[in-house]
Symmetry: C2
Subunit: 410 residues, 2 copies
């Protein structure tokens, strides 16, 4: 039976499989498990009261509009709000530069649909975000990997990759998933310049940018690109080389599936067509809800609460790591976001370690999943946003114990 | 600038354009316009009070769950509810046979992703639903048209089309968009049998099935297919030949973007993978909201209200057509749904008529848009669900006046 269907499916489905992480998450749903494997925001930071208030307002003042079909581009006041938030002196982003998407995952899918013919190459960081690979595997992309270190993509090594005639350069510049790294200002400037000269668009995926615990915010690649072409004028829309993605998932709530993309005018036009065919529009209700919560600046203060909680959890995890990780293990201290990246001594397999961890009821994601080329066998991604401090302490202790067991078994 | 981008876009984007209807709808947003061009439910039938109540319950009882990420397959209680609703004696649909999608448009996109390689053929009715063409143009489908009449697809002519080695047969069996036609029981039985024998899966798109004003409900193609293989047993999931789509858009509210698909087990597995890459999941909040409204049978009585209002509007439109349409024009009397289909005398172009109509501030969709092969130049789709009775009377009068003007101009 399955065989008959296999013959009916399109060629591209050979590249489509379930994410290893999502399958793993199902295993770790048991309440005794402490999971650092997911990428969930802390439910404690959801602004339930404010959302309730916003829903009340919506259902009192504009119920039929909220429940009706609306345009593919997105709810106009929300797009205007986002345009204002993203604009700064010298940087003009207009509402027509913005498309509301059903999560950033949809934006990745639409970008794949617009740019990737089978066999087309996309430059990605190694490690890179798994959701992008999942989106683009369905369009049969090939990946060209550029190494990343604690300062993000090693842009100095980009020239070689650019010779492969890539369609896109994809990266997560802030508090990377999975690596936690943030791309330095020098590298940002160099990247934007090199991409523009090579005529290869950048996809800047920025879900975590606002979750900075310390240090100064760096300009987005989009901003740097706009600055480089300030003479172009923005009255006719953004005409640069960066497609920028961000989302309400990490600063409001992921269950609403409201995100946005900024794209150059010719790309925006095509993205709207692609979105029409993909889901017509993002939920009117949820867009109006996000606007109602965000319109008077509520999220600016709310983000402070999220930052404080995540900073504490990161610090608790770092302290526990100091205590429980074996000699030779290394990890970073991310300045924001939700993930910490740990490298075990050479030759230690994090996949083998995971088996011991599952027995000890603790989970993480083995790092090799995030390397589309090769490598990362001794690395792991640890999420610190979703577990409370006492759980983080206990979980890292279990992780340490699992490492001891593995050493003894070897 | 645009030219540079054109060279970067994937081959498939040549087939992707904005829907003529959606562009037209923008023109007719002016309040003086009476538009029969859209496909919007009547906002008067949205159950605002019940939705408000459901949202209150949700935010009191399960706020963090509603705002958090959830599984790709969909909210389990909602899938269980839909499985119960769809099951009947001898027909067992399980929750695992059901995937929640972000509107049925997403299901169409996922089906395209799974089945259509460039140049693959899909059998469609002529006329057919435009959203399906939009979804599948992005996968470079070719269409094989089977004529439809007042009893739906002329299944007796399907054999010829099946010789083209098609990947799928797509149809809207109930109160068709655009034709308003309903496929007869004989044709349903014949279709299910022929498709099964040919080994070509059927995509049954059923957004309007519950909006029946008169006459008896007919079994779905899915039901007929399950009956044909009753021996197969459903404990391991549905193993038939039909992919069935339906939605909350027409019985609750389209702004929520909650729909569902039933698919054979091997297809379901792949659809979940495809959906992971496309948007991770449908809004948790909206799924829980739909469940909260639907769980105790509220929609069953609510649908009665919708039926009564739409029946009245259909009747008002039919009476006005009798009064204002010229000799030689023909139209059907749909037994449900939202659309009426009108055929003008041979040689009269509905696109030319539309130009006169726009001057008279009334709009419809010229029928040729719905014919992927050719034909339909003298046909038009009239939506009767969205305008109030007095507006329908006035709008059809304007339409009649536009026809007179066109005749005089000729």
């Amino acid at each position: 039976m399955s065989t008959v269907w296999e013959q009916r499916f399109a060629h591209r489905t050979q590249r489509m499989g379930s994410s290893a992480i999502r399958e793993l998450l199902k295993l770790t749903e048991h309440p005794e498990f402490i999971s650092f494997a997911g990428g969930l925001p802390a439910p404690e930071v959801f602004p339930v009261e404010k959302v309730t208030e916003a829903v009340d307002t919506l259902m009192k003042e504009m119920p039929t509009q909220a429940l009706q079909y609306s345009t593919t581009e997105g709810y106009r006041p929300l797009r205007e709000h986002l345009a204002r938030k993203m604009s700064e002196p010298g940087i003009v982003i207009g509402k027509d530069d913005i498309l509301i998407t059903s999560g950033s995952q949809q934006a990745l899918d639409l970008i794949g649909k617009l740019f990737i013919d089978p066999g087309d190459r996309v430059i990605v960081e190694a490690p890179t975000y798994l959701g992008a690979l999942q989106a683009w595997n369905a369009y049969e992309a090939d990946y060209v990997c550029v190494r990343s270190d604690e300062q993000g993509m090693v842009v100095e090594e980009l020239a070689e990759a650019l010779r492969s005639n890539p369609k896109l350069i994809y990266l997560v510049p802030n508090f990377h998933n999975p690596s936690g790294a943030t791309l330095t200002l020098e590298r940002r400037k160099l990247l934007v310049k090199m991409a523009d000269e090579a005529g290869v668009p950048i996809v800047e995926d920025d879900p975590y940018g606002q979750l900075r615990f310390e240090g100064d915010a760096l300009p987005s690649l989009l901003t740097l690109d706009v600055q480089n072409r300030r003479d172009a004028g923005a009255t006719n829309g953004y005409m640069g080389n960066v497609i920028y993605l961000s989302t309400f998932s990490k600063i409001l709530a992921p269950g609403l599936r409201v995100a946005w993309a900024v794209a150059p005018v010719p790309v925006m036009r095509k993205m709207v067509h692609a979105k029409q065919g993909s889901d017509l529009q993002t939920s009117t209700f949820n867009q109006m809800l996000a606007y109602e919560v965000a319109r008077e600046g509520y999220l600016d203060s709310h983000i402070e609460i999220i930052r404080n909680i995540y900073r504490e959890r990161r610090d608790v995890m770092l302290a526990a790591m100091e205590q429980h990780m074996p000699p030779g293990a290394r990890w970073n201290k991310p300045e924001g976001g939700m993930f910490l990246w740990c490298t075990l001594p050479d030759g230690v397999s994090s996949s083998v370690l995971l088996q011991h961890c599952l027995k000890n009821k603790v989970a993480f994601v083995p790092g090799d999943s995030f390397f589309p080329c090769e490598g990362g066998e001794n690395t792991m991604r640890l999420n610190f946003s979703n577990a409370k401090p006492e759980m983080i302490r206990e979980g890292i202790a279990r992780l340490g114990a699992a490492i001891c067991e593995m050493m003894q078994a070897a």
